[in-house]
């Protein structure tokens, strides 16, 4: 098992967001989490990545058998956890290239490797830029500064390609994307998937799952997964919305 979330309870500002949440992800799998707004999808992503504003009251997250909650966010990342942000941050004066240099070398240091030499780094950049069809000029610009929504998301996938995580969490990467950008992002993910890594794709819409075909689709509601199925579940949600789910779990909104 790559990731095991067990009976996780999380509060934000005293409010319970995740309630006895359980999820298991194995290497080689793609999981999609869908669900209406405010059900805790993004909270789950942030807690996995290690954001501080969340209060984990009970439960655990095991990653490769290690207690993920005891690790700092940067340590998690160096161990292979990646979060594609819903709202990537703009960093003026620091190019994507230099940012990636810092990130790659932090990871290499963690693995006991020397800094990557300039030639090798450039080669890697060229190779990974191609994955998301980014121009060279793009990576020399200040990180995310003045980027369009689509450019920011492509940059997230580019960073993911550079860092080759074992577990990638995509937090609504499809929101605000036009169809071309969506196709590029999805094809990036498909090029990167292999039997050693796994993806957790959080989305509102079925649309993305036409391009990234999940092994499992989970429906989240009220802070927990209430239904799990295959790709056909996402199609049903697209057609019928979430009301039937709410009825099934015995609640109405």
């Amino acid at each position: 098992m790559l990731l095991e979330v067990k009976n996780l309870n999380v509060k934000v500002n005293q409010k319970e967001i995740l309630k006895d949440f359980n999820l298991t992800i194995n290497a080689g799998e793609i999981h999609a989490i869908m669900g209406p707004n405010g059900t805790g999808k993004s909270t789950l992503a942030s807690v996995i990545a290690g954001k501080k504003d969340y209060d984990v009251t009970s439960g655990e997250i095991l990653y490769n058998g290690k207690n993920l909650l005891e690790m700092e966010p940067d340590e998690r990342a160096r161990e292979g956890v990646f979060l594609a942000f819903q709202y990537p941050v703009e960093i003026p004066g620091v190019s994507t290239t230099n940012f990636m240099k810092a990130a790659i070398n932090a990871k290499r240091k963690h693995e006991g490797l020397e800094q990557m030499d300039a030639k090798e780094f450039l080669k890697l950049m060229n190779e990974k830029r191609a994955v998301v069809e980014l121009s060279k000029e793009f990576t020399s610009r200040s990180l995310n500064e003045g980027f369009s929504g689509g450019e920011k998301k492509r940059n997230e996938i580019f960073q993911m390609a550079m860092l080759e995580p074992k577990l990638a969490v995509l937090d609504e990467t499809d929101s605000g994307l036009d169809i071309d950008a969506l196709r590029i992002v999805a094809s990036g993910v498909n090029k990167l998937r292999n039997s050693n890594n796994a993806f957790l794709v959080i989305t509102h819409y079925q649309r993305l799952l036409n391009y990234i075909v999940p092994d499992f689709v989970h429906v989240m509601y009220g802070g927990r997964i209430v239904k799990t199925g295959g790709k056909e579940l996402s199609l049903k949600l697209e057609e019928l919305g979430y009301d039937w789910i709410k009825e099934e779990v015995g609640e109405t909104v």
Binding site: K52, P73, D74, R78, V89, G93, V94, A103, H110, L163
Partner: protein
């Protein structure tokens, strides 16, 4: 007191009068205490030595100076001063038609009428304690006169090294720069402590920017550990002229930068910026004044500070808009990042507007590094401390990026990375 025997450098009958007047003024003013409004957050009296040795020290050129000079590009124009004494053998003086450049002492000897036309004309002896002291006891400095329409592309460096052997030594250095109509020049004033001990200096620069002329100045205070330095920069900008100054401070014991720009002709522009890093007990004070006297002028202030440990930053930014200065457009921004709980910053914008048709705005922000940005960097595997340095770079680079003189901008960009231990 008779000041004759205190004085060794700049001298003729006319300056003797100015010096005596300045001395009398200083005698009245003394060294300010924190009771003085302009020195409220910088108790300079307790920071400087109790007694001063004001006579310039003709000291030997030590290895620190030699090594630094050797590291400079061999073609870079420069005037070199050590403890307030001019060293011709270390200097490279450009020979360009229309440019007169020499030590102030030499200029007084060879062209007194030109120097006297400008010398001490921008100094208010009755209110400026340290400018008065400097005027009374000035040792030497640079004189630069650029004739009409002459454009100098290469920056000229004015290096001031200090290696005081006595803790009471208080060097009094001075520059006078005159840029005639339509001329353009780029200057750097570089202050360095070339010893391991504390040095004290009091530097004054007067700069005149003519009609449609341009002056770009960078004040470098990057090798100024253990420095107690008072800087006064007085500028006057005529119609269509523009003046750019950036003061970059990486180290200090105590540094005070008094910078003022008087916009006296229509469409003149003043751009004042600063970046300061305070570590340990450093105290860095920027007192800025932009005086809009003529109509249709523009001014911009951009100040950023990063304070660690027990360091203190002070920003006081004044914008005066006089009655005739209609259609003034003045902007001020001052931001500081506190990197420790024991660092302090005092920020005070001060706008005094006597014209009715003006645009003036100011913004001040003091805070910590952005938590969301920090998380973003950490989520890519960058260690927290490194992420903080990276974000500090992102914060600070704007001021460096603002510098118009390309070689200096590049040099400072590299220095900033070195300062923040960023190896890319």
């Amino acid at each position: 007191m008779n000041i004759d025997n205190q004085f060794t450098a700049v001298e003729n009958d006319a300056t003797k009068l100015i010096r005596q007047k300045a001395y009398n003024a200083f005698e009245k003013l003394g060294i300010p205490t924190s009771r003085h409004e302009e020195w409220k957050y910088t108790n300079i009296k307790t920071k400087l030595s109790k007694e001063f040795i004001l006579t310039p020290l003709d000291s030997e050129v030590n290895n620190a100076v030699k090594n630094y000079i050797a590291s400079l590009p061999p073609y870079a124009f420069r005037l070199v001063f050590l403890n307030g004494v001019f060293h011709a053998e270390l200097s490279i003086i450009p020979e360009i038609e229309g440019l007169q450049i020499s030590s102030l002492k030499e200029a007084f000897a060879t062209n007194p009428s030109l120097v006297q036309k400008y010398y001490s004309k921008l100094i208010n002896l009755d209110s400026e304690h340290f400018a008065a002291l400097n005027t009374a006891f000035v040792s030497d400095g640079a004189f630069i006169h650029l004739r009409k329409n002459v454009v100098i592309d290469e920056p000229i460096y004015l290096h001031y090294f200090f290696t005081a052997s006595n803790a009471n030594t208080f060097s009094q250095t001075r520059n006078l720069v005159v840029v005639e109509d339509g001329a353009t020049i780029q200057l750097a004033e570089d202050f360095r402590n070339a010893s391991n001990i504390t040095v004290q200096y009091n530097h004054v620069s007067e700069m005149f920017v003519g009609k449609n002329a341009q002056l770009n100045l960078v004040k470098l205070q990057i090798e100024t550990k253990n420095v107690k330095g008072i800087h006064t920069l007085e500028t006057q900008i005529e119609r269509d002229g523009s003046f750019y100054v950036s003061a970059i401070t990486f180290e200090a014991d105590v540094i005070r930068n008094n910078i003022s720009a008087r916009l006296i002709g229509e469409n003149a522009h003043a751009d004042l910026s600063g970046l300061y890093f305070g570590k340990e007990n450093a105290h860095i004070d920027s007192h800025i004044l932009v005086d809009h006297i003529a109509p249709n002028c523009t001014s911009n202030q951009l100040y950023k500070g990063v304070l660690h440990d027990e360091a203190t930053g002070v920003f006081n930014g004044k914008i005066f808009v006089k009655q005739d200065a209609q259609k003034t457009n003045a902007f001020q921004s001052s931001k500081a990042i506190l990197r420790s709980k024991t660092a302090h910053v005092y920020s005070k914008p001060q706008l005094e507007i006597f014209a009715d048709d003006v645009k003036c705005s100011h913004g001040a922000a003091i805070g910590q590094l952005d938590e969301n940005a920090l998380f973003y960097l950490q989520a890519r595997g960058i260690e927290k401390e490194d992420a903080k340095q990276l974000l500090t770079y992102a914060f600070a680079h704007e001021v460096i990026d603002h510098i118009k003189t390309k070689p200096l901008r590049q040099f400072l960009c590299d220095k900033l990375k070195e300062e923040l231990k960023l190896n890319w």
